[in-house]
């Protein structure tokens, strides 16, 4: 019943350098539980070298806060991947 | 213990009083002595052996500011003496008999209680007793002793006194006069004690003991704490509806204090 009312949606498509990096980003983000699952839902997937973040929420405020937090985490992941990946 | 403390206490008591140190607690050093402070001749037990007395001495603590130190020593010695003399008169409560006190010098003279447990298990306080029973932790004597512990605390609280530092080291077991296996339970060490009608103080008292049991006798603490509370409740339940209501209040606050402890956010 919850998902029916989560009608504010947004999809982010974030390009990474490689498929492996996109997959790492997905695995890093997945474990953390959502504080109010009845108000906010998120699913992570990959398409090629892109991380796809699909978000659904009860209103635009909750959506904004939630997405902002996810983007903060993604920034850390991107920076870590850029700076600390193993040298080939 | 440092020689300095022994020297100070010997000087204070004079060499006429023989002393033997038996333990050093956090704030007091405990000695035994065969000397009585004001009886002309020493007392003897039924077998003709001279009776022993406890001298509890609170040495000045150099780590704390002299003003704090003087105040605490005087306050605690005096309040311990007052509490002991009041509690001694309440039927059913077992505390050591007070013989003499000198609050400014931090000295108390008390009746000696307890004995050495068999098999080198140490002095008969509750802690050593429970450790001595570790191979048969739930036997009948342990159970009945812990219920009696609960009853002592129940009586204390029911009469609006709080101990302030309940641990298994501050509960002493002495043989009943009869030849049975039963122990008589004594509460000692009332330095942090107070007269208090506040439910909060009683709740904290129970919480402090529960935690002491959990940390010192971890493996069996659930059952042990349950028996203590059983004994505690017995006292209140003997006093009809009024007692039951009071009991509910204390136990409710006890669990509130416990929740506060667990729920408090711990930030590194």
């Amino acid at each position: 019943m919850a998902s029916s009312s989560l009608d504010h949606t947004l999809t982010l498509d974030i390009p990474f350098e490689t498929e492996a990096q996109a997959s790492i980003a997905m695995r890093v983000l997945q474990p953390d539980p959502i504080l109010r699952p009845q108000d906010f839902e998120v699913t992570y997937s990959t398409r090629g070298a892109s991380l796809v973040v699909s978000v659904a929420s009860v209103d635009d405020r909750v959506l904004r806060v939630g997405v902002s937090n996810i983007i903060d985490s993604i920034k850390t992941i991107v920076e870590t991947a850029d700076e600390l990946s193993l040298q080939q | 213990m440092s020689q300095e403390i022994v020297d100070t206490v010997t000087k204070y008591l004079t060499p006429n009083i023989p002393i033997k140190q038996i333990s050093q607690g956090a704030e007091a050093v405990v000695f035994t002595s065969s000397a009585h402070p004001y009886l002309p001749t020493p007392e003897h037990d039924a077998d003709g052996k001279p009776l022993q007395y406890i001298i509890k001495y609170r040495p000045p603590k150099k780590y704390r500011h002299p003003i704090i130190d003087r105040q605490l020593t005087k306050h605690r010695t005096l309040s311990e003496a007052r509490l002991l003399s009041k509690l001694f008169l309440i039927g059913g409560i077992n505390v050591p008999k007070l013989i003499a006190t000198d609050p400014y010098n931090g000295c108390l003279w008390l009746e000696f209680l307890g004995e050495d447990l068999p098999n080198n298990s140490g002095f008969s306080n509750l802690k050593n007793f429970l450790w001595a029973n570790v191979n048969d932790p739930y036997n009948d004597v342990v159970k009945s002793t812990l219920i009696k512990v609960g009853e002592q605390i129940g009586l204390l609280h029911f009469n609006d006194f709080c101990h302030g530092d309940l641990t298994s080291s501050n509960i002493v077991l002495a043989r009943d006069d009869t030849q049975s296996n039963d122990w008589k339970v004594f509460l000692i060490d009332f330095g942090l004690g107070s007269m208090s009608k506040l439910v909060e103080d009683k709740g904290v008292d129970l919480y402090v003991l529960e935690r002491a049991i959990i940390s010192t006798h971890s493996a069996f603490s659930d059952k042990y704490n349950e028996w203590i509370i059983e004994g505690f409740s017995n006292v209140y339940n003997k006093h009809g509806k009024g007692g039951e209501t009071k009991l509910k209040e204390v136990l409710k606050r006890f669990s509130d204090v416990r929740m506060r402890g667990r729920k408090r956010t711990m930030i590194g």
Binding site: I24, A25, R27, V28, L29, Q30, P31, D32, D72, S73, K75, T76, I77, E79, T80, A81, E83, L84, S85, L86 | M1, S2, S23, Q24, A26, E27, P59, K61, K62, Y63, R64, H65, I67, I68, Q71, L72, K127, G164, D165, L166, T167, S169, L192, V204, V208, R211, A212, I214, S215, T216, S218, A219, V257, R260, G261, R262, T265, M266, I267, G268
Partner: protein
């Protein structure tokens, strides 16, 4: 019997290398340690004697302006901004060229602490773990302090006084857990000092507690004290009442409230006490309470050693008082570390995490890396001790 050598080091090395990431409060720390896999670690209880070599220990503190505390959101932003740079710096200083081959385990603080800052560092830890294919260990912050303190001071089985911004606990080891014998019933000692520093509007750098310590040292009238309540309850203590009271005194002093006879002379209206006097009295009173509950725990468990850990543990007056207490006890000895290890750092997380890793206890699924604000010291199963 404890065998700390069950998990062999990577790449056929005869030593372990661990990196630790800490960010539970306003300090962000990354440290790298090296630890030989010596034979004596294969049996017995040697976790306090690991021959640890510290390859790097970098810290960056989020400092707020005077009068302000650090908020979770802003602290998390600080950690995010600095995290990767600090990790890089720590690796360079430790001369780690290839983390995949050179690092055995990545240790990060799983709790307790502030949620958002913890999370920001955990994200970086997970990413590194996947990028480098190196296992992760989630560490209890308090256990980190204890293990680092034991290793540095070689204190085998001390009573631990853990004093920091969020914690005030008296801890002793028994049957595979660090058990809490006493703790604050309300606010933590560090929090108490931080909040008083905010009232005094003194700088938060290097730390509010350090600045209070300096003010207290400069107190001109150490013979007298401002009377504060002394609230020890067995092995527990309470500090919120004392804080509230001294806060009002400070505010009255600043406001020039002449009606307060404790602060101002009845005849001349001149102030009788200074900010330094307040700091001195507060420290003397609170620290006496801390030393007393520590001594009570020592008496209760028959211990002779004390180890002071946590940020407030670097206060020299507290160390001095603890030392004096120990001197009056048979074989009493106090152990303390300096600010490099007392104050939150990455090395301590690496130390505790590596012990855990060597016992085979590491993250098998990333769902185990979710951080937790509440994580009591006695929840951790201490498999590396007997």
């Amino acid at each position: 019997m404890v065998n700390l050598n069950t998990v062999p080091p990577r790449n056929n090395r005869d030593y372990y290398i661990a990196i630790g990431l800490e960010g539970s409060a306003n300090k962000l720390g990354v440290g790298v340690i090296k630890c030989s896999r010596s034979a004596h670690m294969a049996s017995g209880d040697n976790s306090h004697n690991c021959d640890v070599e510290i390859l790097s220990n970098i810290r960056n503190t989020y400092v707020t302006p005077p009068g302000e505390g650090f908020l979770p959101r802003d602290t998390a932003r600080h950690h995010r901004n600095w995290c990767v740079r600090i990790i890089k710096q720590a690796l360079e200083e430790a001369e780690i060229k290839n983390p995949h081959l050179d690092i055995d385990v990545i240790c990060f603080t799983r709790g307790p602490g502030m949620g958002a800052p913890l999370h920001s560092v955990a994200i970086a830890a997970r990413t590194c773990s996947l990028l480098w294919d190196v296992p992760l260990v989630g560490v209890n912050h308090c256990v980190g302090h204890i293990e680092m303190g034991r290793e540095i001071t070689k204190a085998e089985n001390p009573v631990v006084l853990y004093v920091s911004g969020g914690n005030t606990q008296v801890i002793a080891y028994s049957e595979n857990r660090y058990r809490i014998f006493g703790e604050t019933l309300d606010v933590a000692i560090g929090n108490c000092l931080d909040r008083f520093a905010r009232t005094l509007k003194i700088p938060n750098a290097p730390s509010p507690g350090y600045n209070i310590e300096q003010l207290a040292k400069n107190c001109k009238n150490k013979d007298s004290l401002i009377e504060l309540s002394y609230t020890v309850k067995g092995m527990d203590l309470s500090m919120s009442g004392i804080l509230a009271y001294i806060d009002t005194l400070a505010k009255d002093l600043f406001r020039g409230n002449k009606k307060n006879r404790l602060l101002f002379d009845k005849e001349t209206g001149e102030p009788k006490v200074t900010v330094e006097d307040l700091c001195y009295s507060l420290q003397e009173n609170l620290f006496a309470m801390l030393v007393e509950i520590t001594e009570r725990a020592m008496a209760h468990v028959n211990a002779t050693q004390v180890l002071i850990v946590g940020g407030v543990g670097s206060n020299t007056r507290l160390q001095e008082m603890m030392g004096q207490m120990c001197k009056d006890r048979a074989n009493g000895k106090v152990h303390a570390t300096d600010e490099r290890f007392c104050i939150d750092n990455g090395v301590m997380i690496a130390q505790a995490g590596l012990l855990q890793y060597r016992m085979g206890d590491y993250v098998k699924d990333l769902s185990e890396t979710v951080v937790t604000q509440k994580f009591r010291t006695d929840e951790v199963y201490v498999s590396w001790r007997e």
